[in-house]
Amino acid sequence: MANENKPKLKMAVYWGAACGGCCVSVLDVHETLLTIIQHADLVFWPIALDTKYADVEAMEDKSIDLTLFNGAIRNSENEHMAHVLRAKSKILVAYGSCAHMGGIPGLANFSTKEELLSRVYDESPSTINPDKVRPQHEYKVPEGTLEIPNFYEDVCMLDQIVDVDYYLPGCPPQTERLVEVFLAIVSGAQLPPKGSVIGVSERAQCEECTRIKSDNRSVDRFYRPWEIEDDGVSCFIDQGVICMGSATVGGCGVRCVKGNAPCRGCYGPVPGVTDMGAKIMSTIATALNAEDENDIIKAIDSIEDAAGTFYRFSLPASKIRRKIQ
């Protein structure tokens, strides 16, 4: 534990394009917050504190010891704050699936900016907009000019915008993992090499899952979760339902599977893997009862929305990355 004379750690938490769930995971430390504030001063956290952007901009470079940046980069404000916080922080952590891999907002990269705006402001059946009004970055009203951030062409993850020191994944990260990482930092423990994914186990979800896996898998085709009668005990892949557990690193406590829902990969890839889709395909191939290539193709074809399932949380981080006009 930290030396009592040691200066307190200066810490910041910020959100880009996010849902708030990551900030809730920080709040969920409950009583441990008392331990945390013994060792750290929170200097910027819009959800809880009064520090303003201007205050952060006025801080000395590298004056924040640790910043947890959650959320993806969707607009000009997100990007601006990513640059500001990179400059002000000694350690910048991409916190949660969106900052790590693009997350659910990253699914927007299946569409172009124009398709997104058109859906929301023109095509939406409840929207009446005969003049095709669109929100404008700058708009003159009688009293002056109003501004809102620029909506970008696509969603980026944090390290596509700025240099990132560590990644702490999950949607949201398990609070226990955050506490472990925090206590390691304040205790002065040797930090892992820059670029490490922290707060995860060394192995795949599959190896931490309590569902029973068959030794001879023989899946003929894949089913939607509602097409089977889940027995609550057997591995989803054995039951013919796509589960991302074999491609996903452990650390979450296999929460969704315990709720009888297959894993969708929010914790990101197992060590050594960059593209989750490629990894899950190899798992699927070994589970199939396939005589030849045709059987494999047939089985793969039975997967609905394979891209949207395999890259549910990682499209901006994948080789596909985004739709090009």
Partner: protein, 487 residues
């Protein structure tokens, strides 16, 4: 012309902004409330297998994910043409009551109460949840945290994931409730009922017993004469999970009522070039601008509007409190924005009482968890009441059940126009020639929108209830002449 820029209003997702323009006499000319964010869920739900969507849309909001999961789950039921089994519906509703208990507790104690329990013009350093605890005692503060934690535990037990719930499948739920779990929930729900009644008592003792506060609620610049929306059951009682949407007019008479699949005949949305968030209004009345009154299409969807739109509460203690509120405030409808806090506590009592009712019914431990009589998937609308307003999810699919179109009207979106109007009215009421715009004045403006418990401030629900602000007072050429800050 002087321009007051409140930027950022923290605890919005990313960034929120209020622009106040005053004329040379120091009177408020106009106010713009801007929401600067868009993620486009409507578009990227397209192409997804529709049964995956309830797990995707939870990521709209990490504080009220349960609401999106429920609206989506109901829309998916409709896509497959199935009604959930009785047990499944009870389990969903039980989860949902715990979700309301957790959220309403947090809003009242962390956001609403500081203005009343501590005081609207109390020193700013005390006007937060810690100030509330200092006033009511640490013991009560601990109880607040405990009850909220218990509500979260029930959600995690039933929902499968403590934040982004995964419980709904077409026609039902993935997991049942065991008898020992039911008995445990019964005890916890009894605690909720007592705590909800106790919270109402605090409101009585601290707020209603104080003439000044009652005067602010009734006569302050916090009145908005607009229509009221809420989901009601067959007896026109407030219902959070199911029923039909009812809108009563500014006189308290039923203006319209619709089932989820009729929402497009009744609600329309307007786009303004200065905000990414749209402005819904009553389609049959039409958009008449940011104006109040019987002829306006503007409505609100809040705890107060739900009570206005109903004929009462479906549980006994909540019903008593409902009657008392309207008797005290002079009958229906109530237009006092700050009475939303009162209405929220009445809803808290209902959620607690209904949570207990559901847990006491042994049928909730049934094993018939899913209605599998699926039809060819096509189209469905699901509507629930989110804590912050009526929530509509609408999906269309191809015959394989892949989403072709999605449309969402989210709780707080309903209130975009009302919040803008309430802020303007409050600003007009308190910012006048010769009045020094200080922290207390800012808080009076802020109280207007805090009552709505807006979801773009979604994660604020467990945090101090003061809204940190910087206000730059600028000359028309944008030169800053004074900066006020409230920490």
């Amino acid at each position: 012309m002087t321009r007051y820029t409140i930027d950022p209003v923290t605890r919005l997702e990313g960034h929120g902004k209020i622009e106040i323009f005053t004329n040379d006499d120091g009177e408020v000319e106009n106010v713009y409330f801007q929401v600067p964010e868009l993620r486009g869920f409507e578009k990227f739900c397209e192409g997804r297998a529709v049964e995956e969507v309830p797990q995707i849309v939870t990521k709209i909001c990490g504080v009220c994910p349960g609401c999106h999961h429920m609206a989506a789950g109901k829309a998916v039921d409709a896509v497959f043409g199935v009604e959930p089994t009785k047990t499944a519906k009870m389990i969903r509703e039980l989860f949902y009551m715990a979700h309301f208990v957790h959220s309403h507790i947090a809003h009242f104690y962390a956001l609403g109460a500081p203005d009343f329990v501590v005081g609207p013009t109390a020193p700013k350093a005390e006007r937060n949840v810690l100030g509330v605890i200092a006033k009511v005692g640490v013991e009560i503060g601990t109880e607040v945290l405990k009850q909220r934690r218990i509500a979260q535990e029930i959600q995690a037990l039933i929902g499968g994931h403590q934040t982004h719930v995964v419980m709904n499948v077409p026609g039902g739920v993935r997991k049942g409730i065991k008898e020992e779990e039911r008995l445990d929930i019964v005890e916890k729900a009894k605690g909720f009922v007592e705590f909800a009644k106790f919270s109402m008592k605090i409101f009585n003792d601290v707020v209603l017993a104080n003439k000044d506060y009652v005067d602010i609620i009734v006569n302050g610049p916090y009145n908005l004469n607009i229509h009221s929306m809420g989901l009601v059951d067959a007896n026109n009682k407030v219902n959070f999970y199911d029923g039909r949407v009812r809108v009563v007019d500014t006189f308290g008479k039923e203006l319209l009522t619709y089932m989820p699949n009729e929402y497009l005949d009744n609600i329309a949305e307007r786009v303004e070039p200065w905000s990414y968030l749209k402005f819904p209004y009553l389609k049959k009345v039409g958009w008449k601008g940011f104006v109040e009154g019987q002829d306006s299409g503007v409505y609100h969807a809040t705890p107060l509007s739900r009570l206005n739109a109903s004929d009462g509460m479906a549980t006994p203690v909540a019903q008593e409190e409902y009657e008392r509120m309207y008797a005290t405030l002079g009958g229906k409808p109530v237009n006092a924005t700050l009475a939303m806090h009162w209405a929220r506590l009445i809803e808290l009592i209902y959620a607690a009482e209904h949570c207990l009712e559901l847990a006491l019914d042994k049928e909730i431990t049934g094993t018939d968890l899913r209605n599998k009589m699926y039809q060819t998937p096509k189209e469905g609308v699901g509507i629930v009441e989110a804590q912050r307003g009526t929530l509509t999810h609408h999906y269309q699919t191809d015959e394989r059940g892949l989403v072709t179109k999605a449309n969402l009207i989210v709780g707080t979106t309903n209130n975009h126009a009302p919040i803008s109007m309430s802020i303007k009215k409050a600003a007009q009421g308190v910012i006048k020639k010769g009045v020094k715009v200080d922290d207390g004045i800012l808080n009076m403006v802020e109280m207007a929108f805090r009552a709505y418990d807006p979801c773009f401030s979604c994660a604020t629900h467990s945090l101090p209830g003061k809204m940190p602000m910087i206000v730059n007072i600028r000359k028309p050429d944008s030169e800053i002449i004074q900066t006020l800050r409230r920490d």
